[in-house]
Amino acid sequence: MIFTELSFLAFFALVFGVHWALQGARARKLWLLAASYCFYAAWDWRFLSLILGSSALDYLVGLKLEASGDERARKRWITLSVALNLGLLGVFKYANFFLDSALALARSLGFEANPRVLGIVLPVGISFYTFQTLSYSLDVYRRQLRARRDPLDFALFVTFFPQLVAGPIVRAIDFLPQLERKRLWSDVRVRACLTLFLVGYAKKACVGDNISSLVDPYFESPADFDALSAWSAVLFYAVQIYCDFSGYSDMAIATAGLFGYQLRTNFDFPYLATSIRDFWRRWHMSLSSWLRDYLYIPLGGNRGSRLFQQRNLLLTMLLGGLWHGAGWNFVIWGALHGAALVAHREWERAGLRLPALLGLLATFWWTCLAWIFFRAPTLAGALVTVRSFVLFDSPGTRSTGWVPLAAFAALALLHWACSKRWLERASERMPEWSYAVALGVLASLALACTNAAVKPFIYFQF
């Protein structure tokens, strides 16, 4: 069940109606928890045990961390939490990758190895909820957060369905206090939530999904196409992944908002960033801040020598790349971003500056270059695309022509216009009757522009 499916709308209508019909705060939370487990079970009920186990582990570790005054014991508890959470991620997400890599290395050294295929299935959303539970334990360990005694609250924090399978990564410090407040329908910003949901839907279903008909054929056989088509495919993939992921985040934030919960913004027009550092302040903000607080700073952050700081930056981005997927292509993607961040820091230290427009174009170009490795199914295919994208040199002759580039220019203009937030402001100012009419018109148009073949969100695989 994904947000753009009609079945989700039916599910949401039921959960929403019952939630606000219930009177007690506890009854509402119980209902939301039950709905969240059902939502997850609709993907694969077998993995419910995994999310339950992960929740139970960090709930207990949180209590132990708070109760214990002995620093050595606390260290043991937090080590247990980190080891088990990362172990879970390691087994389900990275076991096949490490095994395949080790085998490839062994073969390159001349050893013969034919082990059994592990065939481990990746549970949906594991990267997201593991990071959430981990951040809870780390915050309690650092005494930045009180351990939650009510298991219902904790379980709802982990499984709250709007953000369960593809984020935004919610911090306990943001979410748990919301569970204590009384929830009133009058506090819900219905109009803002509906507008945001519609915008998210349009991004994902009307733009992201439709673009795949241009992107997918190219990446299946990049060597068949000319350089112009490579540019179209790469630019459109940049649009696709942004619309897909930020569209999902918008819908998640809007859905949570309709239940009276606030989730942090996850995207802030990242392609308008004027530097690579600016890009990471705007792209998948819940992940970048997580990596900053729980990886980059503990590694040493901005302390120590320049070389040490650069190492921290590179390592953080390499691991960030690996978080996105178990494959060397994601590692290369992370390395490219890490290298750009290091270069940008040195550039700034040297007191150099780029005009904003030039900075925007350079950042976007580099981001697109990195997306090639993110998208290409093979390294060889990625290198063919890089050659086309950088050197305008391609072995292929098939061409998608200039029309897609004109469509891209239109989308870029739309991206800029949306950053002015005219739509949101206009929708807030409208009288109720005209907002209702406009919403009806736009909803109907959005459905007609939806690609009939529903595609899962790209970020589910992470």
């Binding site: 209702a436 009806g440 109907s444 007609a448 690609n451 073949a453």
Partner: protein
């Protein structure tokens, strides 16, 4: 005061909801008139488009599923009939997944083109498939015929089939999903999207979809020489085929009447063909699948003519593994041989006076 305030707020809420519903409905209805189904890479659209260019030249069309798409060779059929003195010009409208309802919709579209010389429609309906595969629920050609009236009619038939609850839900859900997509116009902007992305109906795409000779026939390649995974897949298919062939040879049409819904659908297909001014000829292809309802419908006279090629003993050469792609599809060599035999049978029936243009 508070109660009044709440009442007026609730009233405004319902008012807004009503306005939303009204504007949504009006725009949805308006879009239906302006946005036809279809897209640049839709097989049926490509075939209809190709057929339309020479609509008055064709005298015979084939309709059905992928078995037709991969099994009827117009070039062979026409050469054979012409040589036998019953010249035809044929076109293959087969499309993967097409069953009775998709065939009906196709015939409707052919009718809209008003072909002047269409004498025969050879159709392999391949079962009615009330229990459809959910993966096909969102295919454009499935969404297209799932208007509320047809879906309701189908739902009644499914409900009357006496299925146990979980199976009943599994049977109904894909149809309702397709119907919802139909009602809300989902996917109708595909042509506009294709245009915006520069996707044109080029010769290359057309050849890819409509077949190398642009007659609707797309051969299945011979993968027996394939290496690696392709070769392994071929071997697996062949083993599965040989294992099932023996069981199939022992299969006989069961007792009892034909399914009433299936018979009604065959009757409708026949009526649609006759509305085109053509004669309906039903065909069962050589496959490991016995179309019991179709055979029974022919026995009780609901189908005027059924040409059967599904006897594995009698048509042993069409069931030979080297002429097959899998249990339902022939490879190119098999398709050509089958088309020759079909053409011979067709000519014989015409010459005996059992088949004539209307």
């Amino acid at each position: 005061m508070a109660a009044n305030g709440e009442r007026s707020s609730a009233g405004a809420g319902f008012g807004a909801l009503a306005l939303f519903a009204l504007s949504f409905t009006l725009v949805t209805l308006a879009l239906r008139a302006f946005l036809p189904h279809g897209g640049a890479r839709e097989l049926v659209d490509a075939k209809v488009g190709r057929f339309a260019r020479e609509r008055d030249a064709y005298t015979l069309v084939f309709a059905g599923s992928s078995r037709v798409h991969r099994g009827f060779v117009p070039e062979v059929f026409d050469a054979r009939t012409t040589a036998a003195g019953v010249p035809t010009r044929s076109f293959n409208f087969g499309a993967p997944g097409s069953r009775a309802f998709e065939i009906e919709r196709l015939l409707e579209r052919v009718g809209e083109l008003a072909p002047a010389r269409l004498d025969f429609v050879l159709v392999d309906p391949e079962g009615i498939a009330l229990l459809r595969d959910e993966r096909n629920a969102l295919a454009r050609q499935v969404i297209e015929w799932h208007d509320p009236a047809t879906t309701l009619r189908l739902s009644r038939w499914i409900a009357d089939a006496g299925l146990p609850y979980p199976q009943l839900w599994t049977a109904l859900a894909p149809h309702w999903k397709s119907c919802a997509y139909n009602v809300f116009n989902i996917g109708r902007s595909q042509r506009l999207v294709d245009a915006a992305l520069g996707e044109r109906r080029t010769d290359e795409i057309e050849r890819e979809l409509v077949g190398p000779r642009l007659d609707g026939y797309a051969p299945l390649g011979d993968e027996s020489e394939g290496l690696g995974r392709r070769g392994q897949r071929f071997q697996k298919r062949r083993e599965r085929y040989l294992a099932q062939l023996e069981d199939y040879k022992g299969l006989r049409v069961g007792e009892g009447p034909a399914d009433a819904f299936a018979v009604e659908m065959y009757r409708e297909i026949r009526a649609r063909i006759e509305d085109l001014g053509a004669t309906a000829v039903f065909v069962t292809q050589p496959a490991l699948y016995l179309q019991e309802d179709l055979i029974k419908a022919a026995e009780i006279g609901e189908i005027p003519l059924l040409l059967r090629f599904d006897d594995a003993e009698r048509f042993a050469e069409l069931y030979a593994p080297e002429r097959r792609y899998d249990e339902t599809h022939l490879n190119d060599e098999g398709a050509r041989l089958f088309t020759e035999q079909l053409a011979d049978e067709f000519v014989a029936r015409v010459k005996r006076g059992e088949l004539a243009p209307r």
